[in-house]
Symmetry: C2
Subunit: 222 residues, 2 copies
């Protein structure tokens, strides 16, 4: 068999080593958080697992199972306290602490993400932007200067950056990811159209926009 | 199950049978397509299900099961023909036909997506951009004028638009989605931070960026 040049994605994270929580549960957590925020804003104080299940479009049993991974969050008979549940899920999601982000790649997508204020409301603070394009160096996005790639490593280490947002082309993503691993980054939010290979202690969350659009194309083409 | 040693042409797809295909399989299809494109570009002509499974990080049995949903794509002993598989999966994904897109919401994200050329390479043609902000009306992105929302319905119907990219704030997403349904849109690529309720004949693919970032936050906070 011919050897392929294709990058091999990191194996599925072994969630079992961290409390047996499945990817499906983890994926639902931000949705719970989003809906609870809406309920809280609407002045709702308590909600039953039945009602929450209807909003989430899962079974009430699934809601209770999901919450049991994290201690249960209160009695079923009286329903859940919305404010309490919201705060507890925020903690589980790590939203009770600030996250310092850098964006690598100041192209269209990198700029759009840098300009998106809502991430900051959740404690995701963009502290640095980096690009290889020398013409962009010194330009500012929301008062954050674009810096050359050579500055990235020291910046990450001196500014307690824990997440890197990767919006570089596929061709340079692997090299940049290697540099980020060397920097000691903890998480990579990867928008490059490639699956990255990184050590187990670095977490990658992919946003493959083209994959998503092709999936929609499939669904409407049936 | 095809047992012949000669590669057989794919039989006519049974459209009804594709209704039973799970979300997990559908989600893997664009990844197969992406890796097969990389293999093709690297000059690889044939690949075994074992090798493909290694790249895809699923079992070889899973690869064969996935492909059996679509007729199998040829015989296991000699492996799959990469070019053939690439073309066939492109067809399944609906990439053998052009898709005409509009973007609704010409903010940072809408502009970034409008400027992203790679979608066009796959046949996704952005034909119109719409916004409620009167100051943006008449401005152009890649020579596509930004039009007022009032023009959307007639534009969709007159220009054979099948996909709407929704990059409006959460607060207006539901109303715009309702208008899109009335327009007869077939697919909505939803970036608004809300889950849309639409009739069954309209397909929605969500890109919830904040959910994705919170998931990463969870993973690095463990």
């Amino acid at each position: 068999m011919e050897k392929s040049n294709v990058q091999v994605p990191l194996r599925e994270r072994d969630i079992s080593s961290t409390k047996d929580i499945s990817q499906a549960v983890i994926t639902r957590l931000p949705r719970y958080f989003r809906y609870l925020g809406d309920l809280k804003d609407a002045g709702v104080e308590r909600i039953s697992s039945q009602e929450l299940s209807r909003i989430m479009r899962v079974t009430a049993s699934q809601v209770r199972q999901d919450f049991n991974h994290f201690g249960g969050f209160g009695q079923q008979g009286y329903g859940y306290n919305v404010e309490y549940l919201y705060v507890e899920i925020a903690k589980i999601l790590g939203l009770n602490q600030l996250h310092r982000l850098i964006i690598i790649g100041a192209g269209n997508l990198g700029q759009a993400l840098a300009n998106y204020m809502n991430f900051e409301k959740r404690g995701f603070i963009i502290t640095g932007i980096f690009d290889i394009n020398t013409e962009l160096i010194g330009e500012k996005i929301r008062n954050i200067p674009i810096q050359p790639m050579e500055k990235m490593k020291s910046f990450v280490q001196e500014n307690d950056v824990d997440i890197a947002v990767l919006t570089v082309p596929k061709s340079s993503a692997i090299k940049v990811a290697e540099q980020l691993v060397e920097c000691g980054i903890r998480g990579i939010w990867n928008f490059a159209h490639i699956d990255l290979e990184v050590p187990d202690n670095v977490l990658v969350e992919n946003v493959h926009l083209s994959d998503s659009l092709m999936k929609l194309s499939y669904l409407i083409s049936k």
